[in-house]
C-alpha cells in the first residue's frame, strides 16, 4: 500500500474524530504543525524512525515534542500510534490530506499570493475579499515576496494561477518578438 493511501486512511480517521468532537480545525492545525516539525528536522526523523532506538525512548521523545508543540491528546496519541507502527513517514502526507479535508468541510480556500514588494495589510484584505467574492468561499491568504517578478502580484488558488506580474508581461513581449 502506498504512503498516500496509508496517509488518507489515517487522515480520514482523524477527520472523523475531529468532526465528532468538533475540533477538526484544531486537529488539522496540530497535525500540520507536527508534520512541519517532523519534515524540517533530520535529527528528529533519524531518532523516531530508527528501530535501534528503544521504543520507550522514542515514546518519551515524542511526548516531549508533543508537549512543546502544544498538541492535544488526540494528535499526540495518533503520533505515538504511528511511531509504534513505524509509520511516522506518512505524517506529512497525512497532514496535507487532513488539512484539505478540513478546509473542504469548513468551506475554506487557501490562496498563495506572491508579490514583488511587501504587501500591506489593507491591500491584502482587499485582495482576500476580492478572491472570496470570485471563489464564493472563505479564502485564507499566504503571502510571499519574490523580487524577480519586477512588479505586480501572482495568486495561486489550488491549481489555478492568476498572474499579474511584470515578469510575465516581459516574457510575453519576448515571445511576440521571437515569433516575428
Amino acid at each position: 500500500m502506498s504512503f498516500e493511501a496509508i496517509a488518507a486512511r489515517y487522515a480520514q480517521a482523524l477527520f472523523d474524530i475531529g468532526v465528532e468532537t468538533g475540533t477538526l480545525g484544531r486537529i488539522a492545525d496540530e497535525t500540520q504543525s507536527f508534520a512541519d516539525t517532523y519534515a524540517a528536522s533530520d535529527e528528529l526523523r533519524s531518532v523516531l524512525d530508527n528501530p535501534l532506538v528503544p521504543e520507550a525512548s522514542r515514546d518519551a521523545l515524542l511526548r516531549e515534542v508533543a508537549a512543546r508543540l502544544g498538541l492535544g491528546d488526540i494528535v499526540k496519541n495518533t503520533m505515538r500510534l504511528l511511531a509504534q507502527r513505524h509509520r511516522l513517514a506518512v505524517v506529512p502526507a497525512m497532514a496535507r490530506t487532513l488539512v484539505k479535508m478540513s478546509d473542504d468541510q469548513q468551506g475554506i480556500v487557501r490562496a498563495s499570493v506572491t508579490s514583488a514588494a511587501a504587501m500591506d495589510e489593507a491591500y491584502a484584505k482587499r485582495l482576500q475579499a476580492e478572491l472570496e467574492k470570485m471563489m464564493g468561499k472563505r479564502v485564507v491568504l499566504t503571502r510571499k515576496v519574490d523580487t524577480t517578478l519586477l512588479a505586480g502580484v501572482v495568486t495561486r488558488v489550488g491549481d489555478t494561477v492568476i498572474d499579474g506580474s511584470l515578469r510575465t508581461r516581459l516574457n510575453g513581449l519576448k515571445s511576440q518578438l521571437m515569433s516575428m
Binding site: 485582495l127 505586480g152 502580484v153 491549481d159 494561477v161 513581449l173
Partner: protein, 354 residues
C-alpha cells in the same frame, strides 16, 4: 515345365521298356557297355579252388588260390587273362550280385563292407594278385579293395562299375532280388532316382524361383536399357557439343571481332552512365549545399533575432529595475485588483506556477 515333364515321360517310358534286356545283361539293368571279353587276368577255366556248389563259369571265390601270374611289365590289361565268353551268357544268374548260401561273401567282395568270413580263407588274394572276384561288376571294386600290395595298380584300369538304372528306389535289402523298390547293398543308387531328384529339384527351382528370377532379370534389363539410353544421350550431347565447339573454332575470328565490338559498346555505355551519374551527383550536391546554406542563414537569422530580443528584454528589465518605484508597484497592484474584479487582462492558467 512342359519340356521338363516331356523329358521325364520319355525317360520313364525308356526305363519301363528297359528291364527286358537289362535283366538279361546284368543285375543293374545296364543296357550296354557290357564287355564282350572278360578282363584280362581272368583264368580261362573254373578255378581249382572253387567252392562246392558254385556254378560253373562263375568266377572263383576269394578262398580259391588265384593263379598267380608274374608281375606284368605292361599295362594292367595283360594282367588278367581273357575270360571265356561263355561265362556270362551261360550263367546269367551267377552274374547277379545276390549271394548264394554257399557263397555268402562272394557278392560282397566288390562292396566296401567288410567280409567276415570270406577273408578268413587261407590263400585269399587279399595280399596277392587280387584279381579274381567274380563277375565283371565285381572286378573293379575287387581290385580296389583287395588288390593288396601286389597287382593293385592294375585294378584302376578295370571297367567301370555297372550302372544301376532303376533298382532299389526305396533302399537296400540283401534278401530279395533287385527290383524297383529294393536293391542289393553293393549296388549304387538307381540313376533314375537321380534323374527324378534332379527333375524335382528343377521343378522346385522353376516353381519358386521363376518369378523372382524373371523380375530380377527384367529389372536388370530395364536398368541396363536405361543406362544404355543415358549413355546414348550423353554421347549425343557430347557429339553436339563437339560440333558446336568445332563450329566455334571455325568462326573464332568472327567471334573475337564480335566480342571486341561488344566490349567497345559496353565501354561506351559505361562511360555514358558514369557521366550521367556524375552529373546527377553534382546537381544533387549543389542542391544540398544550397539547402544547407539556406538553413544556416535561417538559423543565423533566428539566433540573431533571439540574441537581439534577449538583449532588448534584458535591457528593459534593467531599466525597469532601475526606474520602477513604489508608486509603480502600488499602481500595478491596483491594476491587478481592478483586473481581478473585472476578470480581464490577467493571465489565468490551470496547473501552472507563478
Amino acid at each position: 515345365m512342359r519340356k521338363l515333364f516331356w523329358l521325364l515321360g520319355v525317360l520313364a517310358s525308356a526305363l519301363i521298356a528297359a528291364p527286358s534286356w537289362a535283366q538279361d545283361d546284368n543285375p543293374y539293368g545296364e543296357p550296354a557297355a557290357r564287355p564282350t571279353a572278360p578282363p584280362a587276368g581272368r583264368p580261362p577255366g573254373p578255378p581249382a579252388g572253387a567252392r562246392p556248389g558254385q556254378p560253373a563259369g562263375q568266377p572263383p571265390a576269394h578262398t580259391a588260390p588265384a593263379p598267380v601270374s608274374p608281375p606284368p611289365a605292361a599295362p594292367p590289361e595283360p594282367v588278367h587273362a581273357p575270360q571265356p565268353p561263355h561265362a556270362l551268357p551261360e550263367e546269367p544268374a551267377s552274374a547277379l550280385p545276390s549271394p548264394s548260401p554257399a557263397e555268402p561273401n562272394h557278392a560282397a567282395a566288390g562292396s566296401p563292407e567288410p567280409l567276415p568270413a570270406g577273408h578268413d580263407v587261407p590263400g585269399h588274394g587279399e595280399h596277392g594278385a587280387g584279381t579274381e572276384h567274380g563277375g565283371p561288376g565285381h572286378e573293379a571294386n575287387a581290385g580296389g579293395e583287395h588288390g593288396g600290395h601286389g597287382a593293385a595298380h592294375e585294378d584302376h584300369n578295370a571297367p567301370p562299375h555297372a550302372m544301376n538304372w532303376f533298382y532299389g528306389f526305396l533302399g537296400t535289402d540283401d534278401k530279395v532280388e533287385p527290383n524297383l523298390l529294393w536293391r542289393k547293398p553293393d549296388m549304387p543308387p538307381p540313376f533314375l532316382a537321380n534323374l527324378i531328384n534332379f527333375a524335382l529339384f528343377a521343378y522346385v527351382i522353376v516353381r519358386f524361383g521363376k518369378k523372382p528370377l524373371q523380375e530380377a532379370l527384367t529389372s536388370r534389363k530395364k536398368a541396363i536399357m536405361q543406362d544404355i539410353d543415358a549413355a546414348t544421350k550423353m554421347l549425343d550431347d557430347a557429339t553436339k557439343r563437339l560440333n558446336q565447339y568445332e563450329d566455334k573454332l571455325r568462326h573464332i575470328d568472327q567471334e573475337i571481332e564480335r566480342i571486341k565490338k561488344d566490349f567497345r559498346e559496353q565501354g561506351e555505355r559505361d562511360k555514358e552512365r558514369i557521366l550521367a551519374e556524375a552529373k546527377d551527383k553534382r546537381e544533387r550536391m549543389l542542391k544540398d549545399a544550397q539547402f544547407l546554406i539556406e538553413q544556416e542563414a535561417k538559423q543565423l537569422r533566428i539566433d540573431l533575432i533571439r540574441e537581439t530580443v534577449d538583449a532588448a528584454v534584458q535591457a528593459a528589465e534593467q531599466i525597469l529595475v532601475q526606474k520602477i518605484t513604489s508608486a509603480d508597484h502600488d499602481r500595478i497592484a491596483e491594476d491587478y485588483l481592478k483586473q481581478l474584479a473585472s476578470s480581464r487582462g490577467l493571465g489565468v492558467s490551470k496547473g501552472g506556477s507563478a
